[in-house]
């Protein structure tokens, strides 16, 4: 008994010593007289590693500011955290927030538009991708700085297509180009390999509409005013859903469902050669090239037959400066944004993560040139981004409640993939979204503004 007690006491002492040690370590690290810029981000995996490297380089490069990165979990939850902590001592000076939260963050009135700093310093924004900038601006004012940016693209397994003697899809494919490749692959493989998978993902639904030049929300996708209704059942949407439904029924396309498990399953199937093509974010490139020896092919996002592609918008997140911090802190946050956007860092960012380099000068950086040499297909998403001329239908949807919109369109897609009537499913989702918009606008009193 006594011995047990001695052991227990010893353990307690060791435990306390460890705690004390860690705390003393922390407090010594905190002894930094520089201005603290708390930076909230939601990057995981290689993105987080590279971001932390950038932070360290920035902190070492000057002695006025110190950026403190803090990981805040997933995009969706981060939005609520940002809004609920504003004005408190824990709130961030600089934060990363996802593409579809743009309107919500802007309407909160909690941020200083980066345009203020652009004007003050005469910062040359023409170097930054126009499509990406357009997504995060309102009436010509840059609200936030686009950061991790991806494009939806079509991936295909070039080795697999070659094995069955199938001509790969063209650079800018139409729906019927894809159907041909998918059907041939499905048939020639003895129905063992599925042709295409389009994950049930609202982002992809939005991109089909963008590429077809069809507005999802009224008031020109919210770019000319607060949207009061949505249109899920237009020509392009119906055409696209019909295309998907028919091919899922024939067996050429595969339905992996919705959510994180769907994209994981899709990726697993592609990497194991059971799936020939799929639509997904360009940010997956590094994972795809690392995961298989097969040659990877990439083309532009498909468009409906008989029409030109309008170009797709972007996905990812942007960087915002909170207005509840002193102007000195805000300046520091802006300096860090500028640091991240320089040509060299943007090139490094693309090589490390697969997100696109937004600075036009990055294309001349040696790191990026080296990547293109070893993986020529990695050029495609950037080319797709640069060829697109931003207009109101391909610059994102400036509307609150886009998370709800995605949930509803995904439900409609689930119904359609399982064989329901296309029009009914789309109209049902549309009705639900319209009533959501009505009460959301009422609650936020946006119409009275």
């Amino acid at each position: 008994m006594k011995r047990k007690r001695t052991i227990f006491a010893a353990l307690v002492i060791i435990f306390l010593a460890i705690i004390g040690f860690t705390f003393s370590q922390k407090s010594s690290a905190k002894a930094d007289s520089r201005i603290k810029i708390v930076f909230w981000h939601e990057m995981t995996g290689p993105g987080q590693v590279q971001l932390n490297k950038f932070v360290k380089e920035f902190n070492d490069s000057q002695n006025k500011y110190v950026v403190v990165p803090q990981f805040e979990g997933n995009y969706n939850e981060a939005v609520q955290k940002i809004l609920n902590t504003h004005g408190t001592s824990t709130s961030p000076a600089l934060f990363q927030s996802m593409d579809i939260s743009t309107s919500q963050i802007y309407n909160s009135g909690y941020t200083t538009p980066v345009q203020k700093f652009i004007d003050k310093e005469g910062y040359d924004t023409s170097k930054i991708s126009a499509v990406a900038r357009a997504f995060y601006s309102k009436n010509g004012t840059q609200l936030s700085m686009p950061f991790n940016t991806s494009q939806p693209v079509l991936y295909y397994n070039a080795t697999l297509l070659k094995k069955y003697g199938i001509t790969p899809p063209p650079v800018n494919p139409s729906y019927s180009d894809i159907t041909r490749v998918a059907t041939e692959l499905y048939q020639k493989s003895g129905k063992k390999v599925k042709g295409l998978s389009v994950e049930i993902y609202g982002w992809l639904f939005e991109q089909f509409l963008a590429n077809g030049g069809e507005s999802l929300a009224n008031n020109e996708d919210g770019h000319s005013g607060v949207p009061t209704s949505v249109n899920f059942s237009g020509t392009v949407a119906t055409k696209t859903m019909k295309w998907l439904q028919e091919n899922i029924k024939s067996g050429a396309f595969m339905n992996f469902g919705a959510g994180s498990s769907a994209s994981a399953n899709e990726m697993a199937a592609f990497l194991s050669g059971k799936l020939g093509m799929f639509l997904q974010s360009s940010a997956d490139i590094s994972q795809l090239t690392a995961g298989t020896k097969d040659k990877l092919g990439i083309t532009y996002y498909p468009h409906a037959d008989g029409q030109k592609s309008n170009g797709v918008s972007i996905g990812g997140a942007s960087l915002w400066i909170s207005n509840d911090k002193s102007s000195e802190v805000q300046q520091g946050a802006w300096n860090f944004i500028k640091f991240l956007m320089n040509a060299k860092n943007q090139a490094t960012w693309q090589v490390a993560t697969g997100y696109l380099a937004l600075n036009k000068d990055s294309q001349d950086e040696p790191v990026l040139k080296k990547l293109y040499k070893s993986q020529p297909e990695a050029k495609v998403p950037g080319q797709q981004l640069r060829r697109t001329k931003p207009n109101n239908t391909n610059s994102g949807i400036f509307m609150q409640g886009l998370i709800q919109e995605r949930t509803l369109t995904q439900t409609a897609m689930e119904q359609i993939y399982n064989g329901s009537n296309i029009k009914n499913s789309l109209v049902e989702a549309q009705k639900a979204m319209n009533s959501y918009i009505t009460s959301d606008n009422l609650a936020n009193k946006v119409n009275q503004k």
Binding site: V79, L83, N107, G259, A262, T407, T411, A443
Partner: protein, 316 residues
């Protein structure tokens, strides 16, 4: 206070004290009240702060529309409630939740009982099986989800490979509404089994062996013994487990979030998951509060019914 009443000596002592105080002109119960406040105060304070206030706030919010900062802005009375009950999606969620809760409860209890009964047999290596049967208690939800996702994977998963090997068409476990619910029920039952098994196993051990000996002397069959000795003797445990399982399955979240995210076509969008989506994804705190109030009422109702109906069947 209760211990005072039960302890006669203490009572006498306090009475003596009280009479002494009485003569001095004190209120005899003032001190008791002071003690009551002193002892109950801290716990009441904590409860008020973390249980009663949030509860009342939830009810309050359920009558409002909230803006994108989560602040109540427009009073709508019972409109949120009407909106929910007239929405097909919500009614579907209610039905799905009932199906899920009932299926999970029944299978968990039945399989748990069978496993526990089997584990009471004294055969070689039984300790190994006892450990295995209760092992899921040590598995976290996220690990279980990854494990089951691998089994249900449509192209490289264990089940689809098995089906292909047997020349059967593989089932799209997580993308077809009916199968998705089945998959979620299977995973949840598996998760729950460890705990249920352990509780039942403990209960079976406590059934007096003499009863079985008497039954054997009477020459009664094994199944008769099970239904007429074992079941009645462990009925309080079954009652306890059924309530716990029921409430737990009403509240289940992790497996659904990780495996189906409420899909396909809202087939597994259970009440709690819907609340999470509305509150923390859509920022619609008013509607989410309404849903929480409804869920609380439903759970209370079920527990009440269980107490009324099942308690009568509990033998002692």
């Amino acid at each position: 206070m209760e211990t005072q009443a039960k302890n006669p000596n203490f009572n006498i002592a306090s009475k003596k004290k009280k009479s002494a105080e009485l003569s001095l002109g004190y209120n005899p119960y003032a001190k008791d009240k002071l003690y009551a406040v002193l002892f109950l105060g801290p716990s009441l304070l904590i409860l008020a702060l973390f249980v009663f206030y949030p509860m009342l706030r939830t009810i309050y919010l359920s009558f409002f529309l909230t803006n994108n900062l989560g602040k109540p802005t427009v009073f709508v009375g019972l409109k949120n409630y009407f909106a929910l009950f007239s929405s097909n999606a919500y009614i579907n969620s209610l039905i799905a939740t009932l199906v899920y809760v009932i299926a999970v409860s029944i299978f968990t209890i039945a399989i748990g009982l069978v496993l526990a009964q089997a584990a009471t047999k004294k055969v070689a290596g039984i300790n190994f099986f006892r450990t295995i049967f209760s092992a899921t208690m040590g598995v976290s939800v996220s690990v279980a989800a990854i494990f089951w996702l691998f089994i249900f994977n449509p192209s490289v998963g264990l089940l689809s490979q098995l089906f292909t090997a047997l020349n059967l068409t593989p089932i799209n476990w997580l993308t077809e509404p009916g199968w998705a619910m089945t998959a979620i029920v299977i995973s949840t039952v598996w998760m729950n089994l460890g705990f249920t098994f352990l509780i039942f196993f403990g209960a079976l051990q406590s059934v007096p062996y003499t009863l079985y000996e008497a039954a054997q002397i009477e020459g009664v069959s094994k199944s008769y013994q099970f239904f007429h000795i074992t079941l009645p003797m462990i009925s309080p445990t079954i009652f306890f487990v059924s309530i716990i399982t029921l409430i737990e399955s009403f509240k289940s979240f992790g497996l659904i979030d990780l495996m189906t995210a409420g899909g396909p076509n809202n087939a597994t969008n259970l009440l709690v998951y819907r609340i999470y989506q509305d509150a923390f994804l859509n920022g619609n705190y008013g509607l989410a509060s309404t849903e929480s109030v409804i869920l609380a009422v439903i759970i209370a109702l079920f527990t009440f019914i269980q107490f009324k109906v099942l308690e009568k069947r509990v033998t002692y």
